[in-house]
C-alpha cells in the first residue's frame, strides 16, 4: 500500500471519529468531546493534506485530476473552511461538526471507492493552467457546499422551538450563506474564465458547450440569480436558503453528473 493511500485512509478515519465525537457532543453537550472532535479534525486536515503532497511526490504531477484526487482536495478545502468558521465563532462547534463533517465523510468515501494508483498525466493536462483552474474550481465548490449546509441549517432553525435551540441566530446563518456564495461566485467566475483560457490554448476553442462547461454556466446562473434577488430585491432567509441548496445541487451535477453524460472533462 502506498504512503499517500495510507495517509488518505488515516484522514478518513480521523474525519469519521471526529464526526462521532461531534454527534455525541451534540446529543449531550460535553466540553471534552467537542474539544477532541476539533483536535481530530485538525489531524484529519494534516493527513488529508500530506496524502495529497505524498501522491504528488510519488506520481510527479499535482494531484488535481480524477475523482479520487479532486474529492480529496474538495474535502480538504471544506475542512479548512470549517476550521476558519470555527475560529470566527459564528456557529457553535458541535452544530458545525454534525452538519459539515458528514458532508466531508461522504466525499472522502466516494473518493476512497474511486481510488486508483496515480497513472500518467494526459498530455492536454500538462499545463500551468491545471494548477490554477482546478484548485480555484474546487475552492468555489467547497464554499458553495458550506453555503448549502448553512441553507439547510437555516431551514431547520426556522422549524425549531426558540427556547431549545443551539443553532445560531437566523441573521447569522443567513449572512454566512451570503458570504460563502459571494466568495464562491467570484471564484467560480475565475474558474470558468481560466478554464476557457486553458481550453483555448489546449484545444483551440474557449467554449465548446461541453457538458461540464454548460453545467458550470448553469450553476453560475443560479448563483447570479441568488445575488440579484438578494441585493436588489432584498430577498432573505428561507427563499435564498433554498436557492443556495438548489445551487449546490447544480454544483454536484457539474462535478459528478456530467461524467454520466461524457465530454471533454473526462479526467
Amino acid at each position: 500500500m502506498s504512503i499517500e493511500f495510507m495517509l488518505f485512509c488515516a484522514a478518513v478515519a480521523a474525519y469519521f471519529i471526529s464526526m462521532i465525537a461531534f454527534i455525541i457532543s451534540f446529543i449531550s453537550p460535553k466540553e471534552k468531546m467537542a474539544k477532541s472532535g476539533i483536535c481530530l479534525i485538525v489531524a484529519a486536515v494534516v493527513f488529508n493534506g500530506t496524502s495529497l503532497v505524498a501522491r504528488w511526490v510519488e506520481s510527479g504531477y499535482p494531484p488535481l485530476t480524477g475523482v479520487y484526487e479532486t474529492l480529496s482536495l474538495f474535502s480538504l478545502f471544506i475542512a479548512l473552511i470549517f476550521l476558519f468558521i470555527l475560529k470566527k465563532g459564528w456557529i457553535k462547534r458541535e452544530v458545525l461538526g454534525v452538519s459539515v463533517i458528514p458532508l466531508i465523510m461522504v466525499f472522502m468515501l466516494i473518493g476512497l471507492i474511486n481510488y486508483s494508483e496515480a497513472g500518467t498525466l494526459a498530455v492536454s493536462l500538462r499545463s500551468i493552467w491545471l494548477f490554477i483552474h482546478v484548485p480555484i474550481a474546487m475552492l468555489s465548490y467547497s464554499l458553495f457546499a458550506v453555503a448549502a449546509v448553512c441553507g439547510v441549517l437555516y431551514l431547520l432553525k426556522g422549524r425549531e422551538k426558540e427556547e431549545k435551540t443551539r443553532l445560531p441566530e437566523l441573521k447569522v446563518i443567513d449572512n454566512m450563506v451570503y458570504r460563502s456564495i459571494v466568495a464562491g461566485f467570484i471564484l467560480l467566475t475565475m474558474a470558468i474564465v481560466t478554464g476557457a483560457v486553458w481550453a483555448e490554448t489546449a484545444w483551440g476553442s474557449y467554449w465548446s458547450w461541453d457538458p461540464k462547461e454548460t453545467w458550470s454556466l448553469i450553476t453560475w446562473f443560479v448563483y447570479a440569480i441568488f445575488l440579484h434577488v438578494r441585493l436588489v430585491r432584498g430577498w432573505r432567509g428561507k427563499k435564498t436558503a433554498v436557492i443556495a441548496i438548489i445551487g449546490f445541487v447544480a454544483v454536484i451535477f457539474t462535478y459528478f453528473g456530467v461524467n454520466l453524460i461524457g465530454g471533454l472533462h473526462s479526467y
Binding site: 500538462r126 493552467w129 458570504r179 474557449y206 454548460t214 453545467w215 441585493l231 436588489v232
Partner: protein, 336 residues
C-alpha cells in the same frame, strides 16, 4: 415604447431570461452540443439578454455619473464602489457581444499534414508547412508530448520555423495552429492483377483507435465498393490483428473490400510487400505519421478576454472594495 424599454431594462426581465437560458441548457446538455451552436432559441435569448444588459448599463452609468456630486463627501471607496455594478455588467456585455461576434467572424479548420505537406487557406497571405512530426513516449508508451515542427512561408519566403505542442500553439497574424491529434499515412498502390492498370494510388490517412497500441483505421469508398484499411504499427505475429507498441517497428496492413454485401479480407501485408485480393494486387509502399492540427482564427478573443477581466474587477469592487462583503446586510443599492 418607453414601457417596453423599461420592461427590457428591468432586472426581472433579465432574471427571467437567465432562468430560461438555464432551463434551455439543462435540456440541451442531455442532447448534443450541436443544439447550442445551431439553435435560434439560444441566439434569441442571448440577444434579449444582451439588449437588457445594454439598457441596464446605460441606466447604471447615468445614475453613477448623476450621483458623483451627491457622494462626493462620502469617501473615495464609496465612490469607487458605485462603479462596481456597471463595470461588472459591462464586462458581461463584452463577453456576450464577443461570443455573438464569434458566430459571424473568423474560421476554423481541421487539417492533417504529413511531413512536407503545406497548408493554405483562402484569404490567408501565408502558408504553413509541416517539416516533421514526432511523438514523445515514456517507458510504458504513454504519450508525454506531440511535437510538430512547422515553417511559415510568406510569398515564397520562409519567415518562421517553430514547434507546436499540446498547450503551446503557434500564432501567426491572428491565426492559431493547435496540436490536436495524429495518425498514420499509408502509401498504398492497388493495380488490376490481369491488366496491370492502376486502380488506386493514394495516401490513406488512418486515424488511431487507441494511442497505446497505435492501431489505425480508415475507409475509402468508391462508387461500387468500400475499402477498409487496418494498420498495425508493430505487428505481434503474422495473421494476428494486434500491435506490440505504437511505433512503426513492424508495420502491417490489412484490407477489407466490400462489393455491395460481399466482403473479402486480404492477408496482412508488411511494408514494401504485396498481397492479392479479388483480382487486385495491393502494395504497401510507405508509412509515415501525420499531424492533426486545428486551425482557428477568432477575432473576438480580445473582446472576450477584456470582458472577463472587467467583469471580475467589477465583482471585486462590488463585493470587497467598500467593506468586506457586508453589503448584504445593507439596503439594496444596486438598481440591477
Amino acid at each position: 415604447m418607453k414601457k417596453v424599454v423599461n420592461i427590457i431594462a428591468s432586472m426581472k426581465f433579465a432574471l427571467v431570461i437567465l432562468l430560461l437560458l438555464a432551463v434551455f441548457m439543462i435540456v440541451g446538455s442531455f442532447l448534443s452540443s450541436d443544439i447550442f451552436t445551431n439553435s435560434y432559441l439560444l441566439a434569441v435569448l442571448s440577444g434579449l439578454l444582451l439588449l437588457s444588459l445594454l439598457l441596464c448599463c446605460i441606466k447604471q452609468v447615468a445614475k453613477v455619473i448623476g450621483g458623483i456630486k451627491v457622494s462626493g463627501d462620502r469617501g473615495i471607496r464609496v465612490w469607487i464602489s458605485g462603479f462596481g455594478s456597471p463595470v461588472m455588467h459591462i464586462g458581461v456585455l463584452l463577453i456576450i457581444a464577443g461570443m455573438m461576434m464569434g458566430q459571424f467572424t473568423g474560421f476554423s479548420d481541421d487539417i492533417s499534414l504529413a511531413a512536407g505537406d503545406t497548408y493554405s487557406y483562402e484569404g490567408l497571405d501565408f502558408e504553413v508547412r509541416l517539416d516533421s512530426f514526432g511523438i514523445v513516449y515514456d517507458e510504458n508508451y504513454n504519450i508525454t508530448d506531440y511535437i510538430s515542427t512547422v515553417t511559415v512561408i510568406e510569398d515564397g519566403v520562409e519567415v518562421l520555423t517553430t514547434e507546436i505542442t499540446v498547450n503551446d500553439p503557434l500564432e501567426y497574424k491572428g491565426v492559431k495552429f493547435y496540436q490536436s491529434t495524429y495518425g498514420w499515412v499509408a502509401d498504398v498502390l492497388i493495380v488490376d492483377t490481369e491488366t496491370g492498370e492502376t486502380f488506386l494510388d493514394k495516401d490513406i490517412y488512418l486515424s488511431l483507435i487507441s494511442s497505446t497500441s497505435g492501431i489505425g483505421l480508415a475507409d475509402y469508398s468508391m462508387s461500387y465498393m468500400t475499402m477498409e484499411f487496418v494498420l498495425l504499427p508493430d505487428q505481434e505475429e503474422e495473421g494476428v490483428i494486434g500491435s506490440l507498441t505504437p511505433e512503426a517497428n513492424n508495420p502491417s496492413l490489412f484490407f477489407r473490400l466490400y462489393y455491395g454485401d460481399m466482403l473479402m479480407i486480404s492477408e496482412d501485408t508488411s511494408l514494401g510487400e504485396t498481397s492479392e485480393i479479388s483480382g487486385l494486387t495491393i502494395t504497401f509502399e510507405g508509412l509515415e505519421r501525420y499531424s492533426g492540427l486545428e486551425v482557428s482564427c477568432k477575432p473576438e478573443l480580445p473582446l472576450i478576454f477584456t470582458g472577463s477581466v472587467v467583469f471580475i474587477a467589477g465583482l471585486i469592487i462590488v463585493f470587497y472594495v467598500r467593506r468586506p462583503v457586508n453589503r448584504g446586510q445593507e439596503e439594496a443599492e444596486i438598481e440591477h
